[in-house]
């Protein structure tokens, strides 16, 4: 029940985690403070849109990430997200918007890692299925 920053920090499952120079805060929550929320469908209340500091549409980004449509997420500027976690904090449906957005950003970054550098002259561009 120890978190590293109450909004975006990672909960630790043991108290033997070392405190390093990147540890900014340690928050202790009692058992009654933990949220056991059940996610329901998005009700389009637009509270996440109102609180977003970088003018994204988190509800739509979460839905697209959930369906694995990362290219559309990228077109909607998901990389602008600063992961402040406000959208997930105000969500009445208790959707894990922050996790979904992180998942999508991670997938987009991985997709770029797989592209070979441009300098390799013998790089053959084509469909990944093997046919030309």
């Amino acid at each position: 029940m120890i978190a590293n920053g109450a909004i975006t920090g990672v909960a630790q499952y043991t108290d033997e985690v070392p405190v390093t120079k990147v540890t900014t805060a340690i928050t202790v929550q009692g058992p009654d403070e933990i949220h056991y929320d059940e996610t329901i469908a998005c009700i389009h209340c637009a509270r996440c849109v109102d609180v977003c500091p970088v003018e994204l549409v988190p509800s739509r980004l979460a839905a697209l990430s959930d369906q694995g449509r990362f290219d559309e997420c990228r077109q909607m500027n998901i990389v602008n997200c600063i992961e402040c976690g406000k959208c997930a904090a105000v969500c009445p449906s208790k959707i894990h918007i922050l996790q979904l957005i992180r998942y999508s950003k991670e997938s987009i970054n991985r997709a770029y890692e797989d592209i070979a550098p441009k300098e390799s002259s013998n790089l053959k561009l084509g469909c990944s299925c093997g046919s030309d």
Binding site: G9, D15, A46, D50, E55, A88, P92
Partner: protein, 307 residues
């Protein structure tokens, strides 16, 4: 020592979908009480019929399709209550039941349940009832504000909801508590007022219980309104324009419902064209300003711009 872990954020708002629905119903409570006082036992029967049949149909549909029973979130109860509130008090008891069936089955569940419906289930049911049983659904009279006391108790009310416009202001508390967003009610109300004055309609016909109900409770329904900030203003203005067009040629009681119903059709298009620009880029007005300033030939006019 091991701990229970949960995903961030670890501090959340207390607001839930359940809380939103039940507080909307609490805001409608004064109108319910006044309509029962005014119309007597028939109003109570209609409201009970609407709410109970909505619960029964919701449970039945979710049992049949093996879904999780979600009565406790209050959404079905709210739909049944709102359907019962927008029928005249003289209707037979099966009218609110048929309305609840249509709202729950076709308005809500066919489109995919909570948050997925295109049309507000309450309005869909009202339009269905009005077209199917037009003679029964026509109210005895349409209200007109004669004196200030009519704001408190409207003697000419034709629908249950029209009985007391001032009791509907509980919706303002919802806006104050931020359970409902202020942009849609404000833009809808202001547009209707301004346009009604422009076309020369008497405002005593405009400010009715049905119109205020439409502004504060129907138009602000979450799934059927756009999520973007600008889109909500556009949606409210569109609702107002449609309401005045219908109300100018017929009456403002039907106009509030038909106006919002027709605006529901285009709300997703409004949402798509008003997506916010990415952070740090030019806004629409900045872009226009720059393109206009580029076209002005400052050098030919003899104006030198200091570097």
């Amino acid at each position: 020592m091991t701990f229970t872990i949960s995903a961030p954020p670890h501090r959340k708002d207390e607001i839930t979908f359940k809380k939103i629905n039940w507080s909307k119903m609490a805001a409608l409570l004064p109108v319910i009480l006044i309509s029962i006082y005014f119309f007597g036992i028939p109003a109570l029967g209609i409201i009970l019929a609407g709410v109970l049949s909505a619960i029964v149909f919701e449970v039945a549909i979710q049992k049949v399709f093996n879904q999780k029973i979600s009565i406790a979130d209050g959404h079905a109860i709210m739909i049944g209550l709102m359907v019962a509130l927008i029928v005249p008090p003289e209707v037979p008891i099966w009218i609110p039941m048929a309305g609840s069936l249509f709202a729950i089955a076709i308005g809500k569940h066919i489109f995919g349940g909570i948050g997925s419906y295109v049309f507000n289930p309450v309005l869909a049911a009202w339009v269905f009832l009005n077209l199917a049983w037009g003679s029964i659904m026509t109210p005895v009279s349409f209200p007109q504000l004669g004196a200030i006391s009519n704001l408190v108790l409207e003697n000419g009310a034709g629908l249950l909801i029209g009985v007391s416009p001032i009791a509907l202001l509980g919706g303002l508390v919802l806006i104050y508590l931020k359970y409902v967003e202020w942009r849609i009610p404000l833009s809808y109300f202001m547009t209707t007022m301004v346009l009604a004055l422009l076309v020369g309609d008497n405002l005593s016909h405009v400010i009715t219980g049905a119109f205020l109900f439409g502004v504060l409770f129907i138009a602000t329904d979450m799934a059927t309104s756009p999520v973007t900030k600008n889109g909500r203003v556009v949606y409210g203005i569109l609702c107002g324009i449609l309401t005045v067009i219908y109300g100018h040629f017929d009456n403002y009681v039907y106009a509030a419902f038909y106006g919002v119903f027709l605006a529901n059709c285009v709300s997703s298009f409004i949402e798509n064209v008003t997506l916010p620009r990415p952070f740090g880029t030019e806004s629409y007005l900045q872009n226009k300003y720059r393109s206009i300033m580029k076209k002005i030939p400052f050098e030919k006019l003899g104006v030198s711009i200091d570097e």
